[in-house]
């Protein structure tokens, strides 16, 4: 039945022009239309679409890059803060150690100084005592001499007004006393 249609169509075609023979004017119009359209597409459509695509891709990639950058910055800041905290702790430790050392040093210094001071004071006291003793000895010596002489004068009843001789006698007496006391001290 299909063949009937085809044969019928073929009968019609047999009387008419060969369908494979083109109309030159139509070819010209199609060619011109195609070239014009191609020109418009090359010149306007494709560049505009490509530009939009590129901008969109850039916007998306730019957003990602921005986010990555922000994240990197944040982690860098965190790292920095951690470092700073670490440094600060170390610094605090160091200062504490230093303070302790310094305290110990100051204490030692003070101790030395106090010891020196006490030694100096002691020395001074000894010296003063010695000098006072010397002075006492000297004054005693003259006083004891005078007293003894006076006493002896009274007892003996004889004036021993010759001072020079009296002093010599007293000195000899005292020297004897000292040697006696030194011997006793030994």
């Amino acid at each position: 039945m299909n063949q009937q249609i085809i044969s019928a169509a073929a009968q019609g075609a047999a009387e008419s022009a060969n369908p494979l023979v083109p109309n030159v004017w139509e070819m010209g119009v199609v060619f011109a239309g195609f070239v014009v359209l191609l020109y418009i597409v090359v010149k306007f459509v494709v560049p505009m679409f490509e530009k939009t695509f590129a901008e969109r891709a850039e916007a998306i990639e730019g957003g990602i890059a921005k986010a990555e950058k922000a994240q990197a910055e944040a982690s860098a800041a965190l790292e920095e803060y951690k470092q700073q905290l670490h440094d600060a702790r170390a610094e605090a430790n160091r200062i504490r150690e230093e303070a302790r050392a310094e305290g110990a040093q100051i204490l030692a210094e003070l101790k030395t100084k106090a010891a020196a001071e006490s030694a100096r004071i002691t020395e001074q006291a000894y010296a003063q005592i010695e000098s006072e003793r010397q002075a006492a000895v000297v004054s005693l010596r003259s006083e004891v001499g005078t007293l003894a002489t006076t006493l002896a004068e009274r007892i003996v009843g004889e004036s021993l007004s010759d001072d020079e001789r009296a002093a010599r006698v007293v000195d000899r007496f005292l020297a004897d006393l000292e040697t006696q006391s030194a011997g006793a001290a030994k």
Binding site: M1, I5, S16, W25, V30, F34, V45, V46, F49, T52
Partner: protein, 266 residues
């Protein structure tokens, strides 16, 4: 198909429309056999339609597209990525996107005319346009092959590597015929023939329905419903083929270009 065949079986008077009826009288000068035809008007209209649609869609260039821009981008992206990028690939494909894009939408719109009532005339149901486009493609891919590989291209395209020497006398003529002679012919006739056949079926169905309705026999009148159902089904099929042929034509163009670009690796 049975329904379509009925009138031919039955009538003594029914003569199905043929190729002659595919050539409408010219618009200017009115009624002449060789003037400015409806076909030409439609081709020019298609250029205006495609250009204005895509310029309107692409013009705004918003990062977040509106409906029109989105539709345009989808259509453009389909040719760019699904045809040009997938077939040609690599870094070279962008150069051929405009050609493929223009081919696809030029053919698509001119085919779809056949599915629109009143217009109802696919431009490529006349063979001239198909010849022109196939010739443009033919010249393009041979040009690309020569530009890429020099005159050695013809050797690369016709002498397949790895074939024993004694088979070459058979293979080389086959390659020459299939690549350089048959290819443009099939490329153009495939488009033309499908469009013409589709248009012819619509015409035959239409005149068949008219003929049957005019019959006095009630059963024959009723049979026109069968023809109508068959015609609607054929119409759907034709609409599919119209889109498909635009795709096939563009796809083959991409394949030919790819073959010419990479002739040395085939």
């Amino acid at each position: 198909m049975i329904a379509l065949a009925l009138p031919a079986q039955d009538s003594g008077t029914f003569t199905p429309p043929g190729i002659d009826q595919m050539h409408l009288p010219a618009i200017l000068p009115w009624g002449a056999s060789d003037g400015f035809s409806k076909q030409m008007l439609l081709v020019i209209l298609s250029v205006v339609l495609i250009a204005s649609f895509f310029i309107a869609a692409a013009r705004k260039q918003q990062l977040v597209p509106g409906k029109l821009q989105f539709a345009g981008e989808m259509a453009y992206g389909f040719v760019r990525n699904s045809i040009a990028k997938d077939i040609i690939g690599g870094r070279d494909f962008m150069k051929y996107v405009p050609l493929l894009f223009t081919l696809f939408f030029f053919i698509l719109v001119n085919n779809i005319y056949g599915a629109i009532p009143v217009i109802q005339l696919p431009s490529f149901s006349h063979v001239g346009g198909a010849y022109v486009l196939a010739a443009v493609v033919y010249v393009t891919w041979i040009g690309i092959g020569i530009k890429k590989n020099g005159l050695k291209y013809f050797k690369l395209a016709t002498v397949p590597s790895g074939v024993p020497w004694f088979i070459l006398p058979i293979v080389v003529p086959i390659e020459i015929i299939s690549n350089f002679l048959v290819r443009p012919v099939t490329h153009s006739l495939r488009l033309f023939a499908t469009m013409m056949a589709g248009h012819l079926i619509v015409m035959i169905a239409g005149s068949g329905i008219e003929f049957l309705v005019m019959q006095e026999n009630v059963l024959l009148k009723g049979a026109s419903v069968l023809v109508l159902v068959g015609a609607v089904a054929m119409y759907m099929l034709e609409a599919l083929i119209m889109v498909l042929q635009a795709y096939v034509f563009t796809l083959l163009t991409a394949i030919y270009i790819e073959g010419a670009l990479h002739a040395d690796s085939h």
